[in-house]
């Protein structure tokens, strides 16, 4: 906990150049999917599999099916990689990716930074997929070049030659295809206790009777747990806690986006707001760029690196009934602390919520 490189494992791996295109990457953690942003096959494994890999450096696997998710066009201002990945889950549901490895592609994905691509792949697992993948390109190579554990010199050139073969061939078969227009994606929030409970911030808490089959009861229970009412405007939901961080959104670009909203502003009186860097190196960079000071001046706590309030396995937790605008990846009952209520969103949206004291449309602050 004293090494400046310490941080969330899925942020440390890419940052140090341990994660590279074409690799297989595993970890005893669901959000290993993050590393798929590099065009590496990456997924979580269980503890018995951890032991198997430690001992043999191999893993017993059945091949998954291929699914293509294409995001065309451009994103509107205020819409980020987090909104893209939440939009996909909103459409497929949490089981829509079950049995598949998703390849994300299209103009929107090509225009994302590596940080944004990691955010997209990170939540592939929340859509049920085994893994998420993005083919490596110039953006990927530029990110990897010069990292401490990336290849150097002639080895770099050889690696680059191989990485350039890592794309889906023309005419290759996908078992399932989903296409989304980038222009159709709005800043999103979750209203319920599943990552598929996604709506644009301009929406209202849904009426459970509008759902089909078994989902009626689930929606009813979600709304009760979350302390909401059907028909309530999402932008009227008051919050008391803001958490910016996690393997989903704890990278420098996430902090830049939040700081751009917070600059020169204060968070609402009484708000508990914390920003937790994904690694000691992200923390150092944010301090160097003056971003840390923007958070501190706005009233945020500027923390040391870790998983923090994403998962309530450390001292950073919600108390029963507390309601949090969170940039993490899971919102099930008790995820951030027993009885805690989680609304997932992008870092810019979380920053806007910290200022307004309620869920709010970041586009009104831009």
């Amino acid at each position: 906990m004293t090494d400046v490189r310490q941080g969330v494992v899925h942020i440390v791996g890419p940052e140090q150049g341990w994660t590279l295109p074409g690799m297989t990457v595993v970890c005893g953690d669901s959000h290993t999917a993050t590393h798929g942003a590099f065009g590496s096959l990456a997924h979580g494994i269980g503890t018995s599999e951890v032991e198997h890999v430690l001992a043999t450096q191999t893993l017993i696997q059945q091949k998954s099916k291929n699914m293509k998710v294409e995001i065309t066009g451009k994103l509107a201002p205020g819409v980020t990689a987090k909104d893209v990945t939440m939009a996909v889950i909103g459409l497929t549901g949490t089981a829509g990716g079950t049995g598949y490895v998703i390849e994300y592609c299209g103009e929107v994905i090509r225009n994302l930074s590596m940080e944004g691509r990691m955010t997209v792949c990170n939540m592939a697992i929340e859509g049920g997929a085994r893994a998420g993948l993005i083919a490596p390109d110039e953006t990927t190579y530029a990110y990897c070049n010069g990292r401490p554990h990336a290849p150097k010199g002639a080895e770099w050139e050889a690696a680059l030659t191989y990485w350039k073969t890592l794309f889906t061939d023309e005419g290759a078969h996908f078992d399932k295809v989903l296409t989304i227009k980038g222009e159709d994606i709005a800043p999103l929030v979750t209203w319920g206790t599943s990552p598929e409970d996604v709506l644009p911030i301009t929406g209202v808490v849904p009426d459970p009777s509008s759902f089909k089959g078994g989902k009626v009861g689930a929606a009813q229970r979600s709304i009760e747990y979350m302390g909401l009412k059907a028909g309530q405007k999402l932008s009227d939901i008051e919050i008391d806690t803001v958490f910016i961080g996690s393997c989903t959104n704890g990278r420098i670009e996430d902090f830049r986006a939040a700081a751009a909203i917070l600059k020169g502003k204060k968070i609402k009186d009484g708000m508990r707001a914390m920003v937790v860097p994904g690694s000691g190196l992200v923390r150092a960079q944010a301090e160097e760029e003056g971003i840390a000071q923007i958070f501190i001046d706005a009233g945020f706590e500027w923390r040391l690196a870790g998983c923090s309030m994403c998962l309530a396995m450390n001292p950073d937790q919600l108390k029963p009934g507390e309601r949090c605008a969170a940039t993490s990846n899971r919102n099930f009952e008790g995820r951030q602390g027993r009885g805690g209520r989680t609304h997932l969103m992008s870092p810019a949206m979380a920053a806007a919520a910290a200022i307004a004291g309620k869920l709010t449309d970041v586009r009104d602050l831009m």
């Binding site: 906990m1 004293t2 090494d3 310490q6 941080g7 494992v9 440390v12 791996g13 140090q16 341990w18 074409g22 690799m23 297989t24 990457v25 595993v26 970890c27 005893g28 953690d29 590393h35 065009g39 590496s40 096959l41 503890t47 018995s48 951890v50 032991e51 430690l54 001992a55 450096q57 191999t58 893993l59 017993i60 696997q61 091949k63 998954s64 291929n66 490895v101 390849e103 893994a131 993948l133 083919a135 073969t165 890592l166 794309f167 889906t168 061939d169 290759a172 078969h173 937790v276 923390r303 040391l304 690196a305 870790g306 998983c307 923090s308 998962l311 396995m313 450390n314 001292p315 950073d316």
Partner: protein, 101 residues
Amino acid sequence: MSPKTLYDKIWDAHVAHEADDGTCLLYIDRHLVHEVTSPQAFEGLRMTGRKVRAPEKTIAVPDHNVPTTLDRANAATMTEDSRIQVEATQTPKNSACTTIQ
């Protein structure tokens, strides 16, 4: 040669063995390790007298349990269980992997 997806290409490049029923043994390039899901696995290795096969490809860093307050060097902010788990990724008996302290 039939066209392949990106997933097909990475998969094919890592199959060490394929059984008749299609189950594959996949080679793993990077094994990332954190303190919550690894202590039992390390203990399992110790009990069976096995070693980490590729220490340079096995990278351990604590993240789930660590406090994020500026005073975290003070162990009092961690539960005993958390402290034991963090140490399990870093103590000499498990240090046959790459560790970030």
